[in-house]
Subunit: 136 residues, 3 copies
């Protein structure tokens, strides 16, 4: 019997329903869909880092990273990154931000796989990202 544990980074906003920002069981770590919310401030509703794709993409990646770290994982452990954008015209800019971010983090020889699709998101949000990691 392996324990499943919830991963709840201290700075994250409370999820809007009964789900965890991340869960870990055995060597599998799943990060829930993260958006560009700034660190939670007591008594304030979740607030995006800004209205732009740049601000939201960087904050979203930071939020995914915070869940990985709180679960004892790194980007190197990530197998799959799912990127949800709202606008096909954001693809090139998101890719540039994505590349710059991972270059700064230290690109690995085996970056995660990725799927990007274009969906609807709550008003004001331009990007959502989730991730699956295999540890060990």
């Amino acid at each position: 019997m392996t324990d499943k544990t919830a991963i709840t980074p201290a700075t994250h906003t409370t999820p809007p329903a009964a789900f965890s920002h991340g869960v870990k069981k055995g060597n599998i770590l799943q990060v829930a869909g993260q958006v560009g919310f700034l660190p939670a401030v007591e008594g304030q509703p979740p607030t995006p880092a800004g209205p732009t794709l740049r601000e939201q993409t960087l904050q979203t990646l930071a939020n995914v990273h915070a869940v990985l770290e709180a679960g004892g994982a790194t980007w190197d452990d990530v197998m799959m990154i799912r990127v949800y954008l709202t606008d096909v015209d954001h693809f090139a800019e998101m890719n540039a931000l994505y590349n710059a971010y991972f270059e700064e983090q230290g690109l690995t020889a085996a970056p995660a796989a990725r799927t990007t699709v274009y969906v609807g998101l709550p008003k004001g949000l331009l990007i959502e990202i989730d991730a699956l990691a295999v540890l060990g």
Copy 2:
């Protein structure tokens, strides 16, 4: 060599193509996208539990649960739940139904991670859910 087995709850409608409602291999169990179809009735086409988000959400969760159970898993084993809605305005109501459902099931200390996005679905369907579980 570990065997992959198909999971086919007795009451489920036949999938519209060559896929399984669930598959299990080793300690991994994947539930295919479930919608709010009522238990299959011989000779009748798949029929949603009703036109409302409430009816479809509860039936969809029951259908996911049926696959988990038929595969020897419980909600406690679920790592990730992907919720596909067709309308951003359904988010709050879906969350309320989701919370009530899992409270009734007995909330665990580590609920699954979740991603919710807004997509197109076949006419009449308002919600689709799939799930990844790790057993043992």
Copy 3:
């Protein structure tokens, strides 16, 4: 410590960002979102197999298969296939192509689970597919 390795089929186009067409770690293999691009031709941009759903579906399945093979996996190892279409009216035709493809590949007793949703994709692309496999 298990090594994560990138899977890069020789014929595949270079990903438009820092991600891998596939990654493998331990017994888990993740295939990135594949579209209907023909094998890469030096100096030419990625080109879809054709404008039709039929051409793109068959090429996309071939591209997923190429990643599986390059990673030492087969369709039998695949647990989950995610199909992204742009048009609900394509569902029946995609299912027919999907069934014919897997029949030709030799249908297994336990086909993978699947989720199909309708999203936006870059102009000219009608289908995208990713896959999760468990080996061994």
